[in-house]
Symmetry: C2
C-alpha cells in the first residue's frame, strides 16, 4: 500500500530524538464488519477545487444527512472543515474553530456515516509518516475507500487553514502559497479523514487526507504533521462512493480532463 | 466535446453513398430540468472488468431498484446486458436476447432512473460517428454524466456479445479478440447507454457506451456501428455518480492504479 511520498519528507527530527527506540505498539480490539455497505459521500471533485471552483454547492444541513464524520471546506474557500459526531467545525484563517451554520454551503466535502469496523491502540508515533505506516496495516484492500478517526494525545500537531477568497477565484495552489499554519504542543484532539485508492486520482486524493480538531473543539485545520503519544484509531471501510457534481457554470467550464497530481501534492502538504 | 477516436474509424461506406447529402435534422421538443438530482449508479469499475473481475456482485433485482435504464454484463461475463423500462435483457453469445432472471448477478453495470431532460428527433444518420456528433449537441456540460435512449428505425446495426467465461478468468481484451458480432438490417429498436466525462477514465469509459435492443426484444448487443433512418433521442443529465465496489478477493487483488485506456478502446470497438 503506497502512501503519498511527500509525507515522507516531513520528518520532525525534534521528536525522532526524543522518541527514538520506542516502537509503536498496536492491538486490534474489535471485530470487523468490513462487508457493510457504507458509502463515502463526496461533493464535487478535488481537481475542481484545485482550479478554484469555490462556490458552495449544498448546505451543511444536507451534507450531515449523508454522513456524521468527514472533512471539507466552505463557500469561497473560507477555512478547513471537520465533521465530527454530526457537527460541522470551521477552522478559519486564524486557526480557531467555530461550529458552522447548517445553512452554510460547501464546494467540496467528503463524509460518511462512521461505524468503526476495527479499532487499534497506538502509542509513541513519531511523525505523520509513521502514523500512516501504522494506518496502512488496517487497510487490507488497496481498491477500497476507508474513513478514519484517531482520538489521541499529541505531543505535536501542525495544521494549516486557508483564507476566504473573492472572485475571480485564484487556483488553490496560489492560495496555499501563503497559507497560515498553526502548531499545537501537548494537545488532545481528533484526526478525521479518509484514505482513497489510486483509481480515485481524478476525483480525490489517493492516499490519506486528514484534518485535526482539538478536544475542546476550539482549533484545528488541515493536518500537515503530528507526533502522537497515544491514541485510538478507528477505521471504517466504505464500499460505496457517491459523488455529486456542482451544477454551477464555473464547474462546467473548468478542464477536468487531466489530473494535476503534482499540484495536488503541493497543495496537500 | 471529444468522442472516443476509435469510433471515427468505423465508417460504413455503403451507407455513406446512399445517404450522402442528407443532413441530419434535429428539433428540440421538450423543456429541460437538467438541474435534477439524478444519479448514475455503477457496479464495480470498467478497469476491474477489463482485468477479468467477472464474478457477479449484486442481483438484478437490486440493480433495478437503482435504475430502470442502463447497460451491463452478467456473472462470468455471460453476455451483454440492456436495462430498459426496468427489465433486464441478456444478449448471449448467439446474439439472441432473453429476459434475465432477477436473482442473477452482475459484475459490472451502469443504470439510472431515466427521466428525459430533453428530446430530439433525428433522421438520416449515416453512421455511429454522425450519431455521436448529433448527441454531442445535447451535452452542454462536459463535466457531467448523461444517460441516453434512442428509439429508432435503423437501416443497419452491428453489435457484439461475449461468451460466458470460466475460471481462471482471462482479461476482457483476450475475450473480445474472438467476439461474435451480429448485423441487423432495416430494424426497429432502442439504443441505451451513457456518456461519461473525461475524469471518469479510471472507473468507466470516457465518451459514449451504448447497447442495442431490437423492438421485439429478441436480439441486440454492445453497439459497434449503426445507421439510423429516423429516431427519437432522449437524454437525461445525471449530476450524481454512485459506485459500489465488489467485495470479493479478485477485486481486491487486481492493480487498478493505472487506466488501460488503449486496452479499453480496443475492447469497446
Amino acid at each position: 500500500m503506497k502512501k503519498p511520498s511527500f509525507y515522507m519528507l516531513l520528518f520532525f527530527l525534534v521528536f525522532c530524538g526524543a522518541l527514538a527506540g520506542c516502537a509503536a505498539s498496536s492491538t486490534s480490539s474489535s471485530g470487523s464488519d468490513a462487508g457493510s455497505d457504507d458509502v463515502l459521500y463526496q461533493v464535487s471533485t478535488l481537481n475542481a477545487l484545485m482550479q478554484g471552483v469555490y462556490d458552495g454547492e449544498i448546505t451543511f444541513d444536507q451534507l450531515t444527512k449523508e454522513g456524521d464524520l468527514g472533512i471539507g471546506t466552505f463557500d469561497g474557500l473560507d477555512g478547513e472543515g471537520i465533521v465530527l459526531d454530526g457537527k460541522v467545525y470551521q477552522v478559519r484563517a486564524d486557526g480557531k474553530a467555530v461550529q458552522a451554520d447548517g445553512s452554510g454551503k460547501t464546494p467540496f466535502a467528503v463524509v460518511t456515516d462512521f461505524e468503526a469496523d476495527e479499532q487499534v491502540q497506538l502509542s509513541n508515533i513519531n511523525d505523520l509518516s509513521q502514523l500512516q505506516t501504522e494506518l496502512d496495516k488496517l487497510l487490507p484492500n488497496p481498491n477500497m475507500f476507508y474513513a478514519f478517526k484517531v482520538e489521541g494525545t499529541f505531543k505535536y500537531v501542525k495544521t494549516r487553514s486557508v483564507p476566504k477568497q473573492n472572485k475571480p477565484y485564484p487556483p488553490l495552489a496560489e492560495v496555499t502559497k501563503t497559507q497560515p499554519t498553526f502548531e499545537f504542543h501537548d494537545v488532545k484532539g481528533t484526526l478525521v479523514g479518509f484514505w482513497c485508492p489510486s483509481f480515485a486520482r481524478d476525483v480525490n486524493l489517493p492516499g490519506y487526507h486528514l484534518h485535526f480538531l482539538t478536544a475542546d473543539r476550539e482549533a484545528g485545520g488541515h493536518l500537515l504533521e503530528c507526533s502522537m503519544e497515544e491514541g485510538t484509531v478507528s477505521v471504517d471501510t466504505t464500499t460505496g462512493f457517491h459523488m455529486i457534481l456542482p451544477q454551477n457554470e464555473h464547474f462546467a467550464q473548468v478542464d477536468l480532463g487531466h489530473t494535476q497530481e503534482e499540484e495536488i501534492e503541493k497543495v496537500e502538504q
